[in-house]
């Protein structure tokens, strides 16, 4: 039998034993255990080392607010750090490890940090990483070297490097009433709303419904609370209009009652079921929301309050009642309120000895005295705990007389032997979601807590109703009444006078004494996860940080992954005391999403992995079958090279590009954006859209066009074909297809609604193949029927209609490669057929297929621009395209393109570069006039595209260089310290090859 497992009780399945490891040691637990409860049952009290001081830490809570017991869960190569052990359901084979310790959890060298506590006080990072302002180390590299080690010493879990193998999915849901939290209030609300016929979703972040009913030991409707909750949830499962979401944390409350939730579908299993995701991201749009999120118990702040063995009172009660685990055998309690008495009695009943109840209050009610008597506990009222004793585990506490009016300690400190100290500093409603929804919390002096405000009409789209402990009504009877009322109201129903379930509960008032801290010697922790002490808060105040928002950022209080769920109010109270102001004047920080940690994978969901959409061209299967290495470009997949066995990428593209210039090459251009621009005013519209003239274009001819943005910078380029008087086919770059379409629609819908033009995206309707090279025309002549393709019939920029292998095609003679070239378009359904016919016809002529790499090489040799050069910062002049700027008409961007800064000297202009050391150049490398490898500076530009040019037999590149045109014929250097590539280059014109275009004109 485990040393701390009780003989009976709890909601675990004692017949099922589960094996897992923690830090390599094997342990067993039972089905229903969390990692925290199972380790506690095995007598483990040391769970991790703290953030800054590497102090030993145990488990503080039993739920989502846990700041101490953070572990890394390993699944194969994938590691997930900073998971609360209280939220990990154990399964066979679970592998968890502790964090922030070296070399081991029990013996940690950095624990020496706590000896230098002053050094790591509030604002440590701000003070330290600014570096010494004076002295020999001022702004030195030595200081940056030290920073690396200091940063490594502090911290929590380490992220893994293996790709996340988990699958994630996203789900949209709609409902009339979303009930968040399934404690007694939430269960009642869901039932009441469902009975009204409303579509209800009930979410619960834990595996079981019932909340506090599962462990409070109370009786509801004559049965144990846990049984009542199970029955109520079971009844809800029978409703068609109710959806139950266990293990689901609602983490964000957004505009228009849109809520975000994370469902942990498979984390509690050895592996997900078939087709099951690991996590599911829910986007829930609710007509109204019932917030039944309960409350968090607060710790008290006193020296040594972080020692393993110190725990929140309700957490120990929960471990005993829900998991059958005793947090200790000799237990002391320290409280400022009544709720801890019930916890003490529960532990007594579970088999522990309650050695003392230390209460800061000078007087106690007779009910509390009776509870203490029943627990056989000695009461020390008007006392406080001033220290804890022990090493990595608690051995005792020191108590002293305490005056809660002035905080003074008096008399001798006495030691009490105990292996567990339970503390309770009162309760804070979990108002996070209401705060996210824009509500400003209101301080309630009696409850010593921020309560949610009444929802106002200021945010008409945010309709929520609170119930239970969330509203500061801490008793189960109140929760049940408020829950039903909230459910009815949310569903738009009216009250039916039926009897409410009857609750039998221990007595106790809801209001704590206004005591948050016991000031005595030693480190008293406020924020356990970030190692922020009460003294840090006072230091921040002395240094002038008086706003709560500044305090938070300077001390990092509440900024750890637990987001201050347990530390927020004690921290505020200490700050308020330092300022000499009441707490409501200091105010609280605004809670923001997420409520608790959210997996990034769930947010990315279908955008990655096997659910991500793919766009494939009609010839895709042919490419794959013929040895293409596919390359992902946006959602498209395009051939990068068609490599032969044993070829490198460079060898493959050089072979493809060379063959194209020597005989002929063919490339799939189906991904180019294609937009049908049609209507009586189409030509006039295109004159506005393009910088050059299209109304003068003859039917059956194409023209290269350039578009600017409204601010005068270059936007996109492509050819537009006039198929009829009122019928144009525009092509755009692959990347900008969507943006150009949107720009055209915007101008037609918003700016010139009077123009009779219709634009239609036809990208997916047409398959395109570009065939170029000295023998391209012969290949077409061999397979095209119905039209001649000679120079007279098909001149440069001419268009003809014909057939290939029985399929109608449009052929336009235009060239991106600089060769005699043709683009052949056919209906997408016939794309593969036409492509194969062209390949077959090309065989006698040495036709090769080429991919993106060779396409890039051919265009770099010609000095054509693409998105790398049209980068949103360059003008038409910068790219030497000013010959396309018509002076005869206005166009989009014409008024703004001549602004001072856009025509001033010193702009980056397009040039060509030739590597003079015959070594490859790198995209993104900087260009400098004088080389200084140790201290690179004074960049005059950068490389946008590079390749080995088979036509020139050299490594070349396109680059944007300051006053580039004037530098042609001069030398410079590339400076690429990241890839350690430095070397001389010659600056030349971007038109490397066949500058007068004799090859394409034929």
């Amino acid at each position: 039998m485990s040393p701390r497992r009780t003989d009976a009780g709890g909601r675990i399945d004692r017949l099922r034993t589960i094996r897992f490891t923690f830090d390599g040691a094997p342990y067993t637990g039972h089905a229903g255990d969390t990692l925290a409860s199972a380790l506690l049952a095995n007598g483990v009290t040391l769970f991790g080392r703290s953030f800054k001081y590497h102090r030993p830490r145990g488990v503080l809570t039993a739920g989502v607010e846990e700041p101490n017991a953070l572990v890394t869960v390993l699944r194969g190569e994938v590691r997930e750090p900073n998971i609360a052990a209280t939220m990990v359901e154990i399964y066979d084979g679970l592998t968890a490890v502790s964090q922030n310790r070296f070399p081991s959890l029990a013996w940690d060298v950095s624990a020496a940090n706590q000896l230098g506590g002053k050094l790591l006080s509030a604002g440590f990072y701000y003070k330290t990483f600014m570096g010494p302002a004076i002295g020999p180390l001022k702004s030195t590299r030595f200081w940056m070297f030290c920073e690396h080690f200091i940063r490594r010493a502090a911290g929590l879990g380490r992220a893994g490097t293996a790709a996340d193998s988990g699958r994630y999915e996203r789900m949209n849901a709609f409902c009339d009433v979303l009930v968040i939290g399934s404690g007694p209030a939430g269960l009642m609300a869901a039932r009441a709303a469902a009975d009204q016929g409303a579509r209800v979703i009930l979410s619960e972040l834990e595996p079981h419904y019932g909340g506090s009913a599962n462990w409070s030991g109370e009786t509801i409707d004559g049965m144990p609370g846990a049984d009542w909750a199970a029955r109520a949830a079971g009844q809800l499962e029978g409703y068609d209009n109710v959806r139950l979401l266990p293990r689901t944390t609602v983490w964000g409350y957004y505009d228009g009652n849109t809520l975000a939730a994370l469902e942990r579908v498979a984390d509690h299993k050895e592996r997900p079921g078939k087709g099951e995701p690991r996590h599911r991201y829910w986007i829930i749009r609710a007509k109204s929301v019932v917030l039944a999120t309960g409350s968090f118990e607060r710790p008290l702040v006193f020296p040594g309050n972080d020692r393993p063995g110190v725990m929140l009172a309700h957490a120990a009660e929960r471990y005993a009642n829900e998991y059958g685990v005793l947090a200790g055998n000799r237990i002391a309690l320290f409280t400022n309120n009544d709720s801890a008495y019930r916890s003490g009695l529960a532990l007594k009943k579970a088999g522990a000895a309650i050695v003392a109840i230390v209460d800061v209050r000078p007087e106690l009610s007779s009910e509390m005295r009776e509870l203490a008597d029943e627990a056989e506990a000695k009461i020390l009222f008007g006392h406080a705990v001033v220290a804890t004793e022990g090493g990595k585990a608690l051995s005792g506490v020191k108590v002293q007389r305490f005056d809660m009016v002035n905080g003074a300690l008096a008399g001798e400190a006495r030691s009490i032997q105990a292996d567990c100290l339970l503390m309770s500093g009162g309760w804070s409603p979990t108002i996070h979601l209401a705060s996210q929804a824009g509500a400003k919390a209101e301080w309630n002096a009696a409850r010593q807590a921020f309560l949610p405000p009444k929802p106002t009409q200021r945010w008409p789209s945010q309709r929520w109703i609170g119930a239970g402990a969330f509203t500061g009504s801490f008793s189960t009877a109140e929760a049940i009444a408020e829950g039903r009322a909230a459910g009815l109201s949310a569903a738009g129903g009216t009250g039916v006078p039926t009897a409410l379930p009857v609750v039998e509960a221990a007595p106790g008032g809801p209001d704590p004494a206004p005591v948050f801290e016991i000031r005595a010697n030693g480190k008293s922790f406020v924020d356990f996860q970030h190692d922020v002490t009460a003294e840090d808060v006072r230091l921040a105040h002395r240094e002038g940080f008086v706003s709560v928002e500044h305090l938070k950022r300077y001390t990092t209080l509440g900024m750890a992954t637990d987001q201050g769920k347990s530390s927020n109010i004690p921290g505020l109270a200490i700050m308020a005391e330092a300022l000499g102001k009441p707490i409501p004047e200091v105010g609280t920080t605004r809670f923001r999403p997420p409520f608790s940690a959210v997996s990034i994978g769930s947010l990315a969901a279908e955008r990655f992995g096997d659910l991500r959409p793919q766009r494939l061209t009609p010839m895709h299967d042919w490419h794959v079958a013929n040895g293409a290495t596919m390359y992902s470009a946006g959602l498209w997949y395009r051939p990068m090279i068609y490599g032969h066995p044993g070829e490198t990428i460079e060898q493959a593209y050089v072979r493809e590009a060379r063959a194209t210039r020597e005989s002929a090459g063919i490339v799939d251009v189906s991904t180019l954006g294609k937009i049908a621009v049609q209507g009586p005013d189409a030509a006039e519209f295109l004159d506005q859209v393009y910088t050059n003239m299209f109304s003068t274009l003859a039917v059956g001819k194409a023209r290269y066009g350039l578009m600017l943005r409204e601010d005068g910078l270059a936007f996109d380029d492509g050819t537009t074909w006039r198929l009829g008087e009122q019928d144009f086919l525009m092509t755009t770059t692959t990347a900008n297809a969507g943006k150009v379409m949107q720009q055209l629609e915007y101008f037609l819908d918003v700016i010139w609604p009077g123009l009779k033009v219709h634009v239609t995206s036809v990208t997916d309707e047409w398959a395109g193949a570009a065939i170029g090279g000295p023998r391209a025309r012969e290949i077409l002549a061999a397979c095209v029927t119905g039209t001649a393709v000679d120079n007279a019939t098909l001149p440069f920029m001419g268009i003809v209609h014909g057939k290939i292998s029985g399929v109608p095609v449009i052929i336009c003679r235009l060239s991106f490669s600089g060769e005699m070239a043709f683009e052949v378009y056919s209906g997408a359904g016939h794309g593969a057929h036409v492509w194969e016919a062209l390949i077959e016809a090309g065989k006698p002529f040495g036709l090769v297929t080429y991919g993106l790499e060779a396409l890039g090489t051919l265009r770099i040799e010609k000095g054509h621009v693409t998105g790398a050069e049209i980068d949103g910062r360059t003008t038409a002049r910068d790219l030497h395209l000013d010959w396309m700027l018509s002076r005869k008409k206005p166009f989009i961007g014409s008024a703004m393109m001549d602004r001072e800064g856009l025509i001033a000297p010193g702009r980056l202009e397009l040039v060509g570069l030739i590597s003079l050391d015959n070594q490859p150049l790198n995209g993104g490398a900087h260009i400098v006039e004088a080389l200084d490898e140790a201290n690179p500076h004074d960049s005059i530009g950068h490389i946008t595209a590079c390749c080995y040019s088979p036509a020139l037999g050299k490594y070349i590149a396109l680059a944007l260089v300051k006053d580039g045109k004037a530098r042609r014929g001069t030398r410079a250097h590339i400076s690429d310290p990241l890839r350690n590539r430095f070397g001389p280059v010659e600056i030349v014109s971007n038109h490397f090859f066949d500058p007068d275009g004799s090859r394409m004109h034929g």
């Binding site: 849109t258 008409p460 789209s461 915007y746 819908d749 206005p890 008024a895 703004m896």
Partner: protein, 98 residues
């Protein structure tokens, strides 16, 4: 946030693309008034309250809409086609294109 498209009904904001401040006035295409162009391209009102905006229902019917949205509460008080031509909507509806 929901935008009620006159063609498609109430739809989530995820289906829409913000197409800019609806208060901008584009100068005549041939205008050489640089100040007016500058105001059109760069000047924005950024009001705390009702704001006149252009949204495109890019994930569905692709119509451009003039939307009045409260920047403090995200309340939308009106939605209309930028073309201002409700006959278009009616015709499309009749033709079953909505």
């Amino acid at each position: 946030m929901l935008i009620t498209c006159p063609y498609c009904g109430p739809r989530d904001v995820i289906e829409f693309t913000y197409q800019g401040d609806g208060n901008r006035e584009r100068p005549q295409p041939a205008s050489q008034d640089l100040d007016a162009w500058n105001a059109y391209v760069y000047d924005r009102l950024n009001p705390a309250g009702d704001h006149n905006e252009i949204w495109q229902h890019s994930g569905s019917c692709r119509a451009h809409l003039r939307v009045v949205r409260n920047t403090l509460t995200h309340e939308i008080s009106s939605v209309a086609f930028t073309r201002g031509d409700h006959k278009v909507a009616a015709r499309h509806k009749a033709e079953g294109k909505s």
